[in-house]
C-alpha cells in the first residue's frame, strides 16, 4: 500500500522539478508529467481496490508521525478512495485530453494541472480545516491560472471574476476558521466536531460556521451567487471547464461535505433549501440558453446544488452514512462523468450554439456518447442519476418532505427540457457541414471517461435497489434484446427485424402461458401486436441502425411494464418506454418539435406519477410493492390524482392531448401503428393497475372515478370532433385514437364488471382496428408519398386490398353491427346505463355517431371519388403491410362471430375483482339490461347480404363498366380530377355549426404555460450581466440574506 | 354636362359630339386616346359603370366602330365613347384592368367580330360558339342564311308567315296596294 501522502508529495515534487529542469529535460518533461499522473491514478486505484474488494477499515495518516491536534492528518476511507480514484483517473484523462495544449504551452500547463490535481487530492484527503483552506487556495490559484492560460479577453475576464469570488470565499473561510478555532482550540475536523457539542458560546460558533458556510456557498456556486461561475464555464477552454465542472466541483463538494457535521440543523436546513433553489433556478434559466458551454454551466451549477442539498439533508436526518452511497454518490457520479464528457465533447465541436450541432452525427461514436451522456444527465434509467433521484424521492417521501420533491421534479423537468432539445437537434438530418474538430487524444480521453461511467452505471444497476430475483427473466429479457440489438450495429436490418420477431414469438410461447389475469391479457396483446406490426416494418428499405433496437426497447418496456411487480419496476419500464418511443417518433421527418412536445408531456406525466408514488410510498414503511396503494394513507386521493395524470398524459386525455396528433403524424408511417395500437394502451394498463390496487378514492365530495368518467367521455367526444376536421390521414387517425382511448377510460371509470369488460373489449378492438388502419394508411403513403387525404382519391381501383382493409376497419371502429365495434359499444352502453351515468352515455353515443364522419372521410377521400392523374400508376401496398392487416381482419371477424371467446376471457380476468356481470344463453350474451347474439346477427346479415347480392347479379342487365369521368356533371365535361374530387375541408358546414367544440383552449393554455416558463427563464437570466461588480453584489446579497435567515432579524 | 363636354373636347379632341338627350351624349375620340379618355371619365367625371362595349361593322369604310357606354350613378347620365379601328387588322387596347367586367364584352367581341384585345384574360376562349371555324358571324360579309342552310339540315316544305306579309295579305289589302303603287311611282320618277 502506498501511503496517499505520496500522491501529494509526488505531485508537488514533479511540480517543482519540471520548471527547474525545463531547459535540460525539455524532452523528458512530458514523460515525467504523465508518469506522475499515472502514478497518482495507480495509487488511488490501489486504495480503491483495497476498500471495495477487501473492505478495509478507514485509514488515517498522520503527518510528521504525530497525532492531531499537533499534526495535519489525512483520512482515506471508502468514499475518499472512490473519489480519489475517479478524480485522478479523470485528471489523467484530462491531461490526455489537453495533450495538444500542453505541448504548445509547455511546462506551465503541466505544472498548473499538477497543482490543480494536488489541490483536489488534498481537498478530498485532508481532515484538517486549515489544510483544507490551503488546498482550496491551491486549487483556486491553479484554476485561474489555467483559465487565464488561454490568453483571450474572455478567459482573462472570467479568470479575474473567479479570482474575485474566490478571494471573497477564502476571506470568509479564514475568518470562520479563526472563530471556530478560537472556540474549539483545534484545527482538526474530527476534533472540532467532537468539541463543538460542548461549546457554550453557541452564537459565536454559529457565526463561525456561518462564515465557513458562506465561503463554501460561493465556492460551490450556489444561486444566485454564481454569475462568475457561468462566465468561467463559458469563457474557459472546454478541457479545463470539464475538469472544473467534474473533478473541481466534486472535490469542493467533498470539502464542504466534510465540514457539514459542524453545522447546526438550522444551518443545514438553509443549505438544503439553498441547494434546491439553485437546482431549480439554474435549470429554469438553462431552458432559454443556447450557448453550449453556458448551458452546461447552468446544468453543472444545478447538479452541484442538488448534491449539496441532499448532503445537508442527510446530516439533518443524521443518516448520512446511508444516504451518501445511496443518493449522493450516484447523483455526484452522474454529474461528474456526464459533465466532464459533455464539456469535452463541446471541445471537439467548433460551434458553441446548440442549434448548430446537427452534424455531430458525422462521427457515430461521438454522437452515441453524446446521446448517452445527455440521457444520463437528464436522469433517465439505467444511469446512476436515475437511481439517485429515485432513492431521493422515496427517501424524501418517508421524511414527508413533499414540497422538496415537487421542486426537485420541476427542476429535473426543466433540465430534461433543454438537454433533450439539444439532443433532438443533433438527431435531425439538416446538417451544417464540417463542425467537428477531430483529435484522437481528445477522443481517447473522452472514451476513458465514458468507460468509467459505464462501469459505474453497471455497478449501480446491479446494486441499485432493484429486486433482481423477483422480476427475473421476464423483466430483463425484453430490455436485453433491445440493448443487444443496439450493440450489434453490423447485423443487416431485415435480419434484425426477423430476430426481433422470433424473439417475440419465443417469448410469447414460453412466458405467456405462465401468466394469468389481466396482465396476461395485456401481454398477449402487446406480443401479438408487436409480432405482426414488426412484420410490417420488414418492408423498410433504408438502412437505419437504431430502428429495431428502439422498437424492441419500446415493446420490451411495454411487456416489462405489465410484468412489473413493484413501483420501481413500473417506473423503470415507464421511463424506458417514454425514452424509446421518443426516439422512435423523433426518427420521422420534420418531427423535432412534435417529438419534443411528446417527450415533455410524457416526462411531466411521469414525474407527476413519481410524485404520486411518493405520496403513497410511506404507507407500507418503505416497501415498493403495489400494496402501498391498497393501504389507506393520508394522501390516497392526491396520490391517485397525480398518478392518474401520468396515465392520462399517455392516453392523451382531453387537455393533455396536444402531443398526440403531431407525434403520431410525424412518426414514421409504420411506427405510428405501434404508437396507436400498442403504446396508447400503456396508460390504460396503468389505470387498470391503479384502479385495482386503489379502487376509486374520493377527494372530498368528489368521487374521482366519476370525474374520470367525465374526462373519458369528453376525451371521446372532443377527440372524435377534432378528427373530422383533419386533412392529414395520420392526424385524423391520431385524434380518432384519442377518442377511442377516451372510451376505454370511460369504461374503466365505471368500476363495474360490465364496465371493465367493455373497456377491455374496446381496447382489443381498438388495438386491432388501429393496427389495420395505420398500416393501411402507411401502405397508401408508401405508394403515393403523401398523407394529405384530398390529394389522393379513387385508389380503390389501384389498391383494392388496402381499401377492403380500411373498409372493415371503419365498419368496426364506428360500431356498426355485425363487426366487433358494436360489441364494444353494446357492452359500454349497457354498463353505463346500468351504472346510472346517463349523461355520459349520451355523450359517448354522440361521439360514436360523430365517428362516422371521420370514418367516411378517411375512406372516401383516399379510396373513393376521383383518381388523380399522378397516381394513375400506383400499385397495391406491399404484402408486408397487407399480411398483418388481414391477420387482424381475420381476428376481427373471428371475434365478431364468436365474441364469447374474447368476452369469456375478459370476464375471467375481471370477475375476481368485480364479480359476475354477464350470463350466456348459447351464443346470446345477457346483461342486466339487454341481450345480444353476435352469431345470429352475423348470420342474418350475411345471409341477407348474399341473397340480395345474388339477386342483383341475376336481375341486373348487362352492366357497362364506366370510368371516372363518366358522371352526370350537369352535362358538362369534368375539368380535372382534382376539381371534381370533393374532399378538401369536407366538413366545413359542420365546423360552422359545431366548431365551437374544438376551439383550441388546451393549446392556448399550454402555450401560455410554456411561454411564461421561457419568459421567466429569460428574465431571470438577465441578472447575470457579465459584470464582475454585479456578481460581487449578488454574493454580498446572498450573504446578507443568509445571515438574516440564520440568525433571525432582531 | 356641358362643362364636361368642353373638357373632353379640350383634353381628348373629341369630335362628332352628338347630344341625344339631356342625359346622353356620344362623341368619338382617336383610337390612341381611348384608354386615357375612358380612364379619365371613370376617375374624374364619375362614370364608374361600364354598361357595355358594342361594335359596328362599317364594311363600307373598312372600319369597326367601337362604342364604350359608361354610366354615372351620381347624376344619372350616360356617355358613349366611340372610336374607329381598322377592319383589316382589328385590334384594340383592353380595358379589363379598369373594369373586370370588360373581359366579357371583349371576349364576345373577339368571337363575334374578330376584334382582338391583346392582354385580356381568356379572350380567346369560346363565348357562345364552341369550336367555331368560320368567319366571325357578326361581320357583315358573313352570310348567315347560307351558312344555316348548309349546316343545319333545313326541313323541306318550310314556309314563312311573318307578320308583315300576313297583315298585308289578309287585313290591309287596299293599303298594301296603295303602298306598292307609291313605291312604283317614286322609282319611275327617279
Amino acid at each position: 500500500m502506498v501511503n496517499p501522502i505520496y500522491i501529494i508529495a509526488v505531485l508537488l515534487g514533479i511540480g517543482f522539478i519540471l520548471p527547474l529542469t525545463e531547459k535540460k529535460l525539455s524532452k523528458l518533461g512530458p514523460w515525467v508529467f504523465y508518469a506522475g499522473m499515472i502514478f497518482t491514478a495507480l495509487v488511488s486505484y490501489q486504495w480503491f481496490r483495497f476498500f471495495i474488494v477487501s473492505g478495509g477499515e478507514t485509514y488515517h495518516i498522520f503527518t510528521a508521525g504525530v497525532k492531531p491536534p499537533l499534526s495535519i492528518n489525512l483520512q482515506i476511507g471508502l468514499f475518499e478512495s472512490v473519489l480519489l480514484f475517479v478524480t485522478n483517473l479523470t485528471g489523467l484523462a484530462g491531461a490526455v485530453y489537453m495533450t495538444k495544449q500542453i505541448s504548445e504551452t509547455g511546462v506551465r500547463a503541466m505544472v498548473l494541472l499538477l497543482l490543480l490535481l494536488l489541490g483536489l487530492n488534498g481537498l478530498i484527503l485532508t481532515r484538517d480545516i486549515f489544510n483544507l483552506f490551503v488546498f482550496m487556495e491551491i486549487t483556486a490559484i491553479s484554476t485561474y491560472s489555467l483559465i487565464g492560460m488561454d490568453v483571450k479577453s474572455r478567459s482573462l475576464s472570467a479568470g479575474f471574476k473567479y479570482m474575485t469570488a474566490g478571494g471573497l470565499a477564502s476571506a470568509f473561510l479564514l475568518l470562520g476558521i479563526i472563530i471556530v478555532y478560537s472556540l474549539t482550540g483545534t484545527l482538526n475536523l474530527d476534533g472540532m466536531i467532537r468539541s463543538a457539542e460542548g461549546i457554550k458560546n453557541v452564537k459565536l460558533l454559529s457565526i463561525g460556521s456561518m462564515m465557513i458556510l458562506f465561503s463554501f456557498i460561493i465556492e460551490a456556486k450556489q444561486f444566485p451567487a454564481n454569475g462568475w461561475a457561468l462566465d468561467v464555464y463559458e469563457g474557459t477552454k472546454p478541457g479545463v471547464a470539464g475538469l472544473i465542472s467534474g473533478i473541481g466541483t466534486t472535490a469542493v463538494f467533498f470539502g464542504f461535505y466534510k465540514i457539514m457535521p459542524l453545522f447546526t440543523n438550522e444551518t443545514l436546513k438553509i443549505v438544503m433549501w439553498a441547494g434546491l433553489i439553485t437546482f431549480f433556478f439554474s435549470n429554469l434559466m438553462g431552458m432559454k440558453q443556447e450557448n453550449v458551454k453556458r448551458m452546461l454551466g447552468y446544468s453543472s451549477v444545478a447538479q452541484t446544488g442538488l448534491v449539496i442539498s441532499v448532503s445537508a439533508w442527510s446530516f439533518m436526518l443524521g443518516n448520512d452514512k446511508l444516504i451518501f452511497p445511496m443518493i449522493v454518490l450516484p447523483l455526484l457520479f452522474n454529474h461528474f462523468f456526464t459533465k466532464t464528457g459533455l464539456f469535452w465533447i463541446a471541445g471537439l465541436v467548433k460551434k458553441d450554439t446548440t442549434g448548430l450541432w446537427g452534424s455531430i452525427t458525422e462521427n457515430k461514436i461521438l454522437h452515441g456518447i453524446f446521446i448517452i451522456l445527455i440521457l444520463a444527465l437528464s436522469g433517465f434509467p439505467p444511469f446512476p442519476g436515475f437511481w439517485g433521484k429515485w432513492n431521493l424521492v422515496l427517501a424524501m417521501s418517508l421524511d414527508s418532505n413533499f414540497f422538496y420533491i415537487w421542486v426537485l421534479l420541476a427542476g429535473s423537468l426543466f433540465e430534461a427540457a433543454y438537454l433533450l432539445k439539444w439532443a433532438g437537434i443533433t438527431l435531425k438530418k439538416d446538417k451544417s457541414k464540417d463542425i467537428l474538430e477531430y483529435n484522437s487524444y481528445k477522443m481517447l480521453a473522452l472514451q476513458i471517461v465514458v468507460l468509467i461511467f459505464f462501469a459505474v452505471t453497471v455497478y449501480y444497476f446491479m446494486t441499485g435497489n432493484f429486486d433482481h430475483t423477483n422480476g427475473g427473466l421476464h423483466f430483463y429479457l425484453p430490455f436485453a434484446l433491445g440493448t443487444g440489438l443496439l450493440l450489434l450495429p453490423f447485423i443487416p436490418e431485415k435480419l434484425k427485424g426477423m430476430i426481433s420477431m422470433s424473439v417475440i414469438a419465443v417469448y410469447a410461447f414460453y412466458f405467456l402461458p405462465d401468466q394469468n389475469g389481466i396482465g396476461r391479457f395485456f401481454n398477449a396483446m402487446f406480443l401479438s401486436g408487436g409480432f405482426f406490426l414488426t412484420f410490417a416494418t420488414l418492408n423498410r428499405k433504408d438502412r437505419s441502425r437504431s430502428f429495431y433496437p428502439l422498437l424492441m426497447l419500446m415493446l420490451g418496456s411495454l411487456i416489462a411494464l405489465v410484468n412489473s411487480d413493484n413501483i420501481l419496476h413500473f417506473f423503470f419500464s415507464w421511463e424506458i418506454m417514454t425514452l424509446s418511443s421518443y426516439f422512435l417518433i423523433h426518427r420521422g421527418k420534420g418531427s423535432a418539435e412534435e417529438s419534443f412536445r411528446y417527450v415533455m408531456f410524457s416526462l411531466a406525466g411521469a414525474f407527476l406519477m413519481l410524485l404520486g408514488f411518493a405520496y403513497s410510498f410511506p404507507n407500507l414503511n418503505g416497501q415498493m410493492s403495489f400494496g402501498i396503494f391498497a393501504v389507506p394513507g393520508q394522501f390516497t386521493s392526491l396520490s391517485f390524482i397525480l398518478i392518474s395524470i401520468g396515465f392520462l398524459v399517455k392516453s392523451a386525455a382531453l387537455g393533455l392531448h396536444l402531443w398526440i396528433a403531431g407525434s403520431y403524424a410525424k412518426a414514421e408511417d409504420d411506427t405510428s401503428a405501434f404508437l396507436s395500437a400498442l403504446l396508447s394502451k400503456a396508460g390504460i394498463f396503468g389505470f387498470v393497475m391503479l384502479l385495482l390496487a386503489m379502487g376509486a378514492p374520493s377527494a372530498g365530495k368528489f368521487d374521482l372515478a366519476y370525474i374520470l368518467s367525465w374526462i373519458g367521455a369528453l376525451t371521446a367526444l372532443i377527440g372524435t370532433m377534432m378528427a373530422i376536421y383533419e386533412e392529414d390521414a395520420k392526424r385524423l387517425l391520431a385524434y380518432s385514437s384519442m377518442g377511442q382511448v377516451g372510451y376505454i377510460i370511460l369504461g374503466l371509470a365505471i368500476m363495474s364488471g360490465l364496465g371493465w369488460t367493455a373497456a377491455l373489449f374496446q381496447m382489443v378492438n381498438h388495438f386491432l382496428i388501429k393496427g389495420i388502419l395505420f398500416l393501411a394508411i402507411a401502405g397508401v403513403i408508401y405508394r403515393t408519398g403523401t398523407s394529405e387525404m384530398y390529394k389522393m382519391g379513387g385508389l380503390i381501383k389501384k389498391m383494392p386490398w388496402s381499401f377492403t382493409a380500411v373498409m372493415f376497419g371503419i365498419i368496426a371502429i364506428s360500431g356498426v353491427p355485425p363487426l366487433t365495434g358494436f360489441g364494444a359499444k353494446w357492452l359500454m352502453y349497457e354498463a353505463l346505463i346500468e351504472k346510472g351515468w346517463y349523461l355520459q352515455t349520451g355523450m359517448a353515443f354522440f361521439a360514436s355517431t360523430v365517428a362516422f364522419l371521420y370514418c367516411f372521410r378517411l375512406i372516401h377521400a383516399i379510396f373513393l371519388g376521383q383518381p388523380k392523374t399522378e397516381f394513375r400508376n400506383v400499385k397495391e401496398a406491399p404484402a408486408w403491410f397487407l399480411i398483418p392487416q388481414y391477420v387482424f381482419i381475420m381476428a376481427i371477424f373471428f371475434f365478431s362471430i364468436f365474441p364469447r371467446v374474447l368476452i369469456d376471457r375478459i370476464s375471467a380476468a375481471v370477475e375476481p375483482f368485480f364479480g359476475k356481470s354477464l350470463t350466456w344463453d348459447g351464443n346470446t350474451v345477457i346483461s342486466s339490461l339487454g341481450y345480444w347474439n353476435a352469431t345470429a346477427v352475423m348470420t342474418i346479415v350475411g345471409v341477407v347480404f348474399v341473397v340480395l347480392a345474388i339477386g342483383l347479379f341475376i336481375k341486373l342487365p348487362k352492366v357497362q363498366k364506366v370510368k371516372q369521368f363518366n358522371i352526370v356533371f350537369a352535362a358538362e365535361r369534368p375539368e380535372t380530377p382534382e376539381l371534381t374530387h370533393f374532399a378538401y375541408e369536407f366538413f366545413r358546414p359542420y365546423r360552422r355549426a359545431m366548431g365551437w367544440m374544438v376551439r383550441p383552449y388546451a393549446t392556448r393554455f399550454w402555450r401560455s404555460v410554456t411561454e411564461s416558463a421561457y419568459t421567466v427563464s429569460d428574465a431571470l437570466r438577465k441578472i447575470y450581466t457579465g459584470n464582475g461588480q454585479t456578481y460581487i453584489f449578488h454574493i454580498l446579497l446572498v450573504l446578507v440574506i443568509l445571515f438574516y435567515i440564520s440568525t433571525g432579524v432582531k | 354636362m356641358e362643362e364636361m363636354i368642353e373638357r373632353i373636347k379640350l383634353k381628348f379632341n373629341a369630335k362628332d359630339i352628338n347630344r341625344q338627350k339631356a342625359t346622353l351624349v356620344f362623341f368619338s375620340v382617336e383610337k390612341k386616346d381611348l384608354e386615357a379618355c375612358v380612364l379619365y371619365m371613370k376617375e374624374f367625371e364619375g362614370y364608374s359603370n361600364l354598361t357595355m362595349i358594342s361594335a359596328t361593322d362599317w364594311i363600307e369604310t373598312g372600319t369597326f366602330g367601337l362604342t364604350y357606354h359608361l354610366h354615372n350613378y351620381k347624376n344619372r347620365t350616360d356617355v358613349g365613347i366611340k372610336t374607329y379601328i381598322d377592319r383589316k387588322n382589328p385590334s384594340m387596347v383592353s380595358i379589363n384592368t379598369l373594369w373586370a367586367g370588360a373581359r366579357v364584352f371583349e371576349r364576345e367581341l373577339k368571337e363575334m367580330f374578330g376584334i382582338d384585345f391583346p392582354g385580356c384574360p381568356r379572350v380567346d376562349d369560346p363565348f357562345a360558339l364552341e369550336g367555331w371555324d368560320n368567319l366571325p358571324p357578326m361581320r357583315k360579309d358573313f352570310d348567315t342564311v347560307k351558312y344555316s342552310e348548309e349546316t343545319y339540315f333545313p326541313r323541306p316544305g318550310r314556309s314563312t308567315k311573318d307578320n308583315v306579309t300576313q297583315m298585308e295579305e289578309k287585313l290591309y289589302a287596299v293599303e298594301a296596294e296603295v303602298k306598292k303603287g307609291i313605291a312604283k311611282t317614286v322609282r319611275k320618277n327617279k
Binding site: 364506366v962 365535361r973 | 344555316s148 326541313r155
Partner: protein, 205 residues
C-alpha cells in the same frame, strides 16, 4: 407547349382513355310477350322528366307541375339526374352549344328513353331557322318520339303530347334508344358536323 403538341401527335384520340369509357351503345332487343307489355305499361305510367330546360320553352313546363295542370296524376315527375329519368323534353330552340349538352345528357340516360320536342324550333328551327347558331331539325341529332308544335305550345298541348307519347310507348313504338344505337354513326356524323370541338368519346356513358 411543344410538349403538349408532341403528346397529341402520339395520341390519336383527343380525350384520355383512362378518364372516359369509349364503348359504343348497343341495341337491346325487346323481350316479346306479356312481360315487355307490362314493362311498357310501367314506363308509360312512370315518366320521369329530366329537369333540363334547354331553351325558352321550359317556361311552359313549370305550370305542368302546379295544381292547375298537375302531371303527377300521370305518374310523371321531374328528376334532376339523367341516370334516373326516362323522358327528355327539348324545350324550344337548341343552340349548338346546348346541343352538345343535350347529346351528353341524352346519352347518359338509360335505355328505354323518350324524347319530346317542344315548340316549333325543334321541328324546323322555327323563328331561328336562319340563325348561324341554332339547329333546325332535332331529329337529325337524337331520335325524337313526339313533337309538340307551337311557339309556344300551351301546357294543354304538352299534356296532349304526353298522351300521344304514352300511346306510342304502350304500342312499343318508342324505341328511340335502340334506334340511336342502330343508327349511331349517322347521328354521330350529324352531331359532329355542327359540334366541332368534340373532346370526349363518341358516346357518353
Amino acid at each position: 407547349m411543344t410538349m403538349i403538341g408532341e403528346e397529341n401527335k402520339n395520341e390519336k384520340k383527343n380525350f384520355d382513355t383512362e378518364l372516359f369509357c369509349d364503348a359504343v351503345p348497343k341495341e337491346v332487343p325487346r323481350i316479346n310477350g306479356i312481360i315487355q307489355k307490362f314493362y311498357d305499361w310501367a314506363q308509360a305510367n312512370s315518366l320521369w322528366i329530366l329537369a333540363f330546360g334547354t331553351g325558352c320553352g321550359s317556361i311552359e313546363m313549370r305550370p305542368l307541375y302546379t295544381a292547375r295542370y298537375d302531371i303527377s296524376r300521370f305518374g310523371m315527375a321531374p328528376r334532376p339526374t339523367p341516370r334516373q329519368s326516362n323522358l327528355f323534353i327539348i324545350s324550344g330552340y337548341a343552340s349548338v352549344k346546348t346541343l352538345k349538352r343535350i347529346v351528353r345528357s341524352y346519352e347518359q340516360m338509360q335505355n328505354p328513353k323518350f324524347v319530346m320536342g317542344l315548340g316549333s324550333c325543334t321541328v324546323n328551327g322555327g323563328m331561328y331557322w336562319d340563325s348561324y347558331n341554332t339547329i333546325n331539325r332535332l331529329d337529325h341529332y337524337i331520335p325524337v318520339d313526339t313533337y309538340v308544335a307551337g311557339c309556344m305550345p300551351r301546357p294543354e298541348a304538352l299534356i296532349a303530347g304526353f298522351e300521344d307519347l304514352k300511346k306510342r310507348i304502350k304500342e312499343g313504338r318508342a324505341e328511340g334508344a335502340n334506334e340511336y344505337a342502330k343508327n349511331f354513326e349517322w347521328y354521330k356524323a350529324n352531331q359532329k358536323k355542327v359540334i366541332k370541338d368534340w373532346d370526349m368519346p363518341d358516346y357518353n356513358w
